[in-house]
Amino acid sequence: MSDFKIHHREGEGVNVLELKGYLDAHTAPDLENAFQQLLNEKRYRIVVNFKDLSYISSAGLGVFMAYIEDVRKNKGDIKLTNMTPKVYNVFDLLGFPILYEIYKDEKEAIGKFKDGKKQ
């Protein structure tokens, strides 16, 4: 049940974290480490792809909150994409769509980063 995997990809200056499985209090530290590593390497353009994430708990949500401020301070962002309706509902209940950019598709999110660059 506590099976959780993170796959990190990079392309066009954007870092994509693909999440898979269950993100809860037990697995949240894995995601924290992944974010921390990106921040250590000064990579602040982050897209999190939720395509294969089947569950997220409040501890999982907390991870995004813990890093968003630092990322944005460095002119980057964490954009969330490809959520299943169930996962989206959890984010939505808490009002995350007000605070985070949530996209249907990963490409869209990467595109937004590139648009930002042009400006």
Binding site: L61, G62, G95
Partner: protein, 682 residues
């Protein structure tokens, strides 16, 4: 031996010997020869001696540990008897009444001494017996007995046969005298004693055997008194001379190995003691002290100390502390193994291998000790390794250079393994005690937290309320409360702190404090949420947040206003149907300032008779069954609608039962809170 037997075995000689004495005196003075009476006399004497033998055997304790002392005692007895016998030889040709007078006590003391010698020899021969040992000894005894009996003057037996039997008996004496296994188990000191005693016993018995063989007065007196007894005493003296002579030589040969044997034995004992200790010493410090004490015993070291690796998060820097020491000061230890760079200790930590220093003052690693020669000799250090991790180092030093041989290294290494197990074991016990303590603390926390939740449902007019909250762990992050406001109004709050367990419980307590103080100040739910967010933003960790719903019920106007801070929607059931009431609103602690305020909406609902509002935390809707499916809103709504005509408490039970039926045996993973409000009308 029973009392009766003892008395009989004493009574027999007491009756026999005086009778024999009188008979002898009479016979000496009156010329009277009665063969049949002589046979009876001879027989009675032998029986009396059997009785004495039986009596002594029953009284004499078996040889156990203090063998040298027993042999020493035997020597004293034998020597005294020899002295008495020697004095008798000084009496020139005793005859008549004097001879009778002398012979009986002489025979008795010599006989008793012989019996004692025989019994001691028996115990020594049979010590750590092997197959055949007992058989050989029984044959010897049988031969002794037969030789004695056939030597009686009453039977005219061929001299060749008696001599032959005598020779065979001597052969078996020699065979039995090779059984000297008791010597091996003596300590060096005991062996030294034994050398002296066995030598003395050898000479005593040689003299004795000479005395009872040659033409001395003693020989004459005894053989004329009873020739079987004479043979017995004679054979016994030879047996003792041969056996103790042999024992003397064996002990002499065993002496050089005595120390080694002794040490091996003490090593074994120490190892054995320690393995017993493992299960007995619960106190960690006691264990450490015992370990150093046993190190001294195990390898005969002069000093010993134990160092343990202190747990720390940093793998690169391992700190090792002396936790117990014997006969050495901390300063000496530091000078000895911490004085160089890299220090001996650091090297041990890195290599995790046994380190042997044969000569402290000349070894490259410890040469610096020369400056202050408080410590010299040799040092052996053995790592304690558990699961391939170094947990400590055990050190021992001897004052002698080259003091540790391969045996010491092997023994101390084995010992170190036992120590490792003992220490790990003790740590585990300590851990489990600590765990138990923490559990108790958590239980206290649980009781405290239960008191933070309403102890009973308030009795507000026009409403029927039921509530329940269950934690998945000892303590949880769910919160609900009721507050009485002015002008017929009251408030209900249901909240959920992110995460679980102790951290959530602390925030929950904080939320309660904030809620109670703000509820009296704020006129609207929205205002309360905004101000609560401001307060919580300062105190919550970045990754923590609180979802909360707050509703103010106005009983006078039959209405309620609610605001939602990221919390689960309220299930509102009326006669017209149901609705998931979900005004916009961010969770508390997510963002500060205007964004929160701007995005928080309020919703007003007019209450009609029989309307039901269900407030809950996601523990209800996110409960899972075996397959991993969530309970969800649909099931919640369906169950609530089906139970809508019941009172609040029954609706609560219906929902809880349905959730439990759904989850089955699976342990629910989150805290669950459920508050039901039913409008009864004004």
């Amino acid at each position: 031996m029973s009392r009766l037997k003892r008395i009989i075995s004493l009574l027999v000689p007491v009756i026999v010997f005086p009778s024999v004495f009188f008979y002898d005196v009479i016979r000496a003075n009156v010329d009277l020869e009665l063969t049949s009476v002589s046979v009876i006399r001879e027989f009675a004497v032998v029986v009396a001696f059997f009785a004495i033998y039986y009596y002594i055997e029953g009284r004499k304790p078996r040889l156990s540990k203090a063998i040298p002392r027993e042999i020493g005692k035997l020597f004293v007895i034998s020597f005294s008897v020899l002295t008495v016998a020697g004095m008798v030889t000084l009496v020139p040709n005793p005859q008549g009444a004097l001879a009778e007078f002398l012979s009986i006590p002489l025979v008795i003391i010599l006989g008793i001494a012989s019996i004692l010698t025989l019994l001691t020899a028996r115990d020594l021969v049979l010590h750590k017996r092997k197959k055949g040992t007992k058989r050989n000894f029984v044959i010897l005894m049988a031969l002794l007995l037969t030789t004695c009996v056939v030597n009686t003057s009453l039977l005219a037996i061929d001299r060749l046969l008696t001599t032959g039997l005598f020779v065979v008996a001597i052969v078996f004496v020699v065979i039995n005298s090779f059984r000297q296994s008791w010597i091996v188990y003596l300590s060096r000191r005991e062996k030294l004693y034994c050398i002296v005693y066995t030598a003395l016993l050898f000479f005593t018995n040689v003299f004795l055997s000479v005395l009872v063989t040659n033409t001395s007065a003693v020989n004459k007196l005894i053989s004329s008194f009873s020739s079987p007894l004479h043979t017995f005493i004679q054979l016994n003296a030879i047996l003792a001379a041969v056996y103790f002579g042999m024992a003397f030589i064996s002990t002499l040969f065993h002496l050089p190995t005595a120390e080694v044997f002794e040490r091996k034995q003490s090593e074994l004992t120490s190892l054995h003691n320690l393995s017993r200790l493992i299960t007995q010493v619960f106190d960690f410090n006691d264990l450490l002290n015992t370990v150093t004490q046993m190190t001294l015993e195990v390898c005969g070291a002069g000093t010993s100390w134990l160092e343990l690796v202190q747990p720390s998060g940093d793998d690169r820097h391992i700190s090792v502390n002396v936790v117990a020491r014997r006969n050495i000061t901390t300063e000496q230890i530091e000078r000895l193994i911490g004085g160089t760079t890299p220090s001996l200790r650091q090297v041990m930590v890195q290599t995790k291998k046994v380190s042997l220093i044969d000569d402290i003052l000349s070894d490259r690693r410890t040469k610096h000790m020369k400056q202050n020669a408080q410590l010299k000799g040799s040092m052996l250090s053995v790592p304690l390794i558990s699961h391939e991790e170094l947990i400590g180092i055990l050190h021992a030093t001897k004052e002698m250079e080259y003091g540790f041989d391969q045996d010491d290294i092997d023994v101390l290494t084995t010992f170190a393994d036992h120590v490792t197990i003992a220490i790990e074991n003790s740590k585990l016990i300590a851990k489990s005690i600590e765990r138990e303590r923490l559990h108790q603390e958590l239980m206290v926390a649980q009781r405290m937290q239960k008191r933070l939740l309403p102890q009973s449902v308030p009795n507000f007019p026009s409403v029927d309320i039921a509530a329940v909250s269950e934690s998945s762990m000892e303590v949880g992050g769910d919160y609900y409360d009721f507050v009485q406001l002015t002008e017929g109004r009251f408030g209900i709050v249901v909240g959920d702190v992110s995460g679980k367990g102790v951290s959530a419980a602390f925030y929950m307590a904080e939320v309660k404090g904030i809620f109670l103080s703000l509820s009296k100040l704020c006129s609207s739910p929205r205002e309360l949420l905004v101000r609560a967010n401001e307060t919580l933003m300062n105190s919550l960790e970045r990754n923590a947040f609180v979802s909360l719903i707050y509703v103010m019920v106005d009983t006078k106007h039959a209405s309620m206003v609610l605001a939602r801070a990221g919390h689960c929607p309220v299930v509102y059931i009326s006669s017209e149907g149901y609705e998931l009431v979900r005004p916009t609103g961010l969770g508390l602690g997510l963002t500060n300032g205007s964004l929160f305020e701007e995005s928080t909406e309020e919703r007003k609902i007019r209450l009609k008779l029989g309307d039901i509002c269900i407030f809950y935390t996601d523990g209800i809707t996110e409960s899972r069954d075996k397959k991993g499916d969530e309970y969800g809103y649909d099931r919640l709504v369906k169950t609530a609608v089906a139970a809508k005509n019941l009172d609040a408490c029954r609706i609560k039970d219906a929902i809880l039962n349905d959730v439990r039926t759904f989850t089955g045996d699976t342990v629910y993973g989150d805290d669950m809170t459920l508050v039901i409000l039913k409008w009864l009308g004004n």
